[in-house]
Symmetry: C3
Subunit: 339 residues, 3 copies
């Protein structure tokens, strides 16, 4: 596919500066070639302006003078770029229909425009919406409901009774609806508490590879519309996540915690159980959240990296920090009394 630069200006609501030309690909500004369009959004990349081989660039107005090729001028070059990239790289579509090598229960309901790949297993009572694609080796258990135009990659498991909305992308290895982790001590051992809730995923949700979302103990685990989850995230039973919240890889959220909408949660974050995080909260990578956050803003924990040699010394002092603080208090007292 190729498009006139002027058409891309229209698509993205940006201003064309320079001659019109034909664009057929996207690229990094540093490695772009003829036919490519690239974008520059930060001054850090401005050095590439003079040497780029791209046919056109998407830039902020401030870079226009230095730009040697036709340009789309935009307040948000990254967003304009994303729109053009989606035009040039539309979502991959599998062949419509049920593969002869898929295993579909008689009592499953498959829209005729859906696509079920080889080796997929669709159980009785499951429902697959229009335009939805189920990847090879994926298992959709009993009574699970998948909306329309959702893409489920290979080797995904959607547990019985769980619901996934429309326009979602679920990457490989995701497990939705495993039992929540609930036990009660009974003598020396533990008795399992049945997990009878489900998982409900909204629309336009993306879930990264090998992320796990458990079914609720009694209430459902609920993921709002537009939520984006990276790879290897763990979401425990009864958690709810508000619309358009974004969570980076390897973060774990414990049971019955409620997270607001519009939050940005970094990678490797831990959030303990039964907390409330309000809307529009930022949590930086590796933070350990042990209390509710009721005021929007940015929150952190963790300690800074150092050479192992320095770190060892400082880290050893941490174990006597309370004592150190008390020694300082004593010194202050002595100092005062000698004033």
């Amino acid at each position: 596919m190729s498009f006139q630069l002027s058409a891309l200006a229209k698509l993205t609501g940006s201003r064309l500066e320079g001659d019109d030309c034909l664009i057929n690909n996207i690229a990094e500004v540093s490695s772009a070639n003829a036919g490519d369009i690239a974008f520059i959004s930060s001054p850090a990349y401005a050095d590439f302006l003079s040497v780029t081989k791209a046919s056109a660039l998407i830039i902020k107005a401030e870079f226009l003078d230095a730009c040697p090729v036709p340009a789309l001028v935009s307040d948000n070059p990254r967003l304009a770029y994303a729109k053009i990239a989606n035009l040039l790289y539309p979502a991959r579509k599998s062949e419509t229909g049920v593969s002869a090598d898929a295993i579909v229960a008689e009592l499953a309901s498959i829209d005729e425009s859906a696509s079920i790949a080889a080796g997929a297993v669709i159980s009785a009572g499951a429902s697959i919406g229009a335009g939805t694609q189920i990847g090879a080796g994926s298992v959709i258990e009993e009574d699970a409901v998948i909306g329309s135009n959702t893409r489920i990659s290979a080797n995904v498991t959607v547990g019985y009774g769980c619901k996934v909305g429309s326009d979602c992308i679920i990457h490989s290895g995701v497990v939705l609806g495993a039992d929540g982790f609930g036990f009660v001590k009974d003598g020396d051992s533990y008795l399992k508490i049945p997990q009878v809730g489900n998982v409900h995923i909204g629309n336009k949700v993306e879930i990264g590879a090998n992320t796990t979302i458990d079914r609720g103990a009694l209430e459902n685990t609920v993921i709002g519309n537009g939520v984006k989850l990276d790879n290897q995230i763990q979401i425990a039973h009864g958690v709810s996540i508000g619309d358009n919240t974004v969570i980076s890889a390897a973060t774990a959220i414990a049971g019955s915690t409620h997270i607001g909408s519009g939050c940005l949660i970094g990678g490797l974050v831990g959030i303990v159980e039964h907390l409330t995080i309000t809307d529009n909260v930022i949590i930086t990578g590796r933070t350990m959240v042990t209390r509710s956050i009721l005021q929007s803003g940015s929150y952190s924990s963790s300690t800074p990296m150092d050479t192992t040699e320095n770190w060892r010394k400082n880290s050893a002092r941490f174990r006597r920090l309370d004592e150190l603080a008390k020694r300082v208090a004593r010194l202050e007292k002595t100092n005062k009394s000698t004033d």
Copy 2:
């Protein structure tokens, strides 16, 4: 299914106070309706007593006066609740027998009361016990042995020669018996050390979604009876875990570490290799365990969350903590000499 409240009192060893009635479901006290039973174990939920629509509550004696509906009085309402929940929600049972769409090697041994789902692969020499269910897309490799009444969910991998006991639940995406991570430097590159041990899982073990347990290098990796592992836990080669130890999500345990019985290990914990953790140890979430724990008790590390602004200031000081301690020592010396 529905049960007389008096029968539930008998089942749970609790005392019925008020009229007998019919119970057909479990619910949260806050959202219960007619026919439901709910429980209150902490004073935090006592406010719901006056407004609950549940037909009955499981409570401690102290809440009896405030309870407006029939009650089961118990010292451990949560345990009583779990017993009733297990009665009302017995474990799901798949149809007995081998699905026409399962792939079973001729030399595999499948008990006639076992259930093998569509798309499951059972290799030669594998043995599946009575009443055990193997989920869709799961792979049981050569010579693996699964006991009786164990439930293996969809898309699980049990490696060759590994053993899983009876009455276990293995959730989707679990990998048992991948090679341990063992290499030895050979010039600039690394030579693999063959991993010739297996994984042995005891009885009544539950393993959460996408958890991985590696086979031992020489000795087996051993998980004791009644152990409960949450999602996305990593257990390296040669680890052993004692009976009834419970581990929360996203924790990683390095090679040849031995953990006692009755331990409670939080989420996101790291435990380095070749350590010994004794029985009945509690390790709080995100702790980094770098030395053996030979005395039972509770252990922690990590640092507290703060606003990013405050955290940045404090965190910067951490890098000079050793220097700060030395400065305090100098001040103390000066103070003494001026006494």
Copy 3:
């Protein structure tokens, strides 16, 4: 299989001391029996010398006097042991050919010496090299290329267009080529940025169970030759890792970070996006890397474990560390002025 000890001396370039004998297995020095060979590389195990039942030991010269059985004397007993272990335990080989229960697209290219297990799905345009084994339930998507003598275990997903080299081992649950995590804010919600790069894995790479490596946004995600990745590692889009770098379990590396060759990265490490880590860097377990490392050496962060009681006190002081440092500075000023 059994081998003369003298032949093993030749294989490993070590010196035979004592009588020749027949070796047919490897074992830990503590549990070895007749016919076994074991190794001792650290003085910590020297106590076992006098009591071992092994037929032979691999030792450093310093332990020779105390060794009661025939010995292979080597500067690197662990390496000699690994070579012998590889001889006694050659890599498992599946039957050559395509299983009747595999699902192979007509337009896939499968070398006749490759092995495709039951339930595996090979898509159109995929290419499987000589001697390569694809495990049960694994999915090799369109146009993916797998080199020769590579072993892909059960339930692996290799995304469309991705490349895996020769002599690799990819363990179960691995996902290569899921979309990178790239979005741009568009009003209140997020627009997906198409991820059009691939994943390129070099030769002699091992990738642990449930590890995920995302495809690049524009450039490829690249894993060098000889890289060893443990279980449950997350590698984001556009990351590159140099040859022979070794990474332990549960580490997460964010987008577009470039890691050199010969690095040793511990478990539970986090590395943020757009960093450069030079060659031969050691990063200890649980470190949070938030800036580039341009000088080889060892780096750390995290705080030490303590009893929960002590930790609580010290941890609380961390939140006032900046204030504490300022108080010390004031004391120093006062002290000076009173000098």
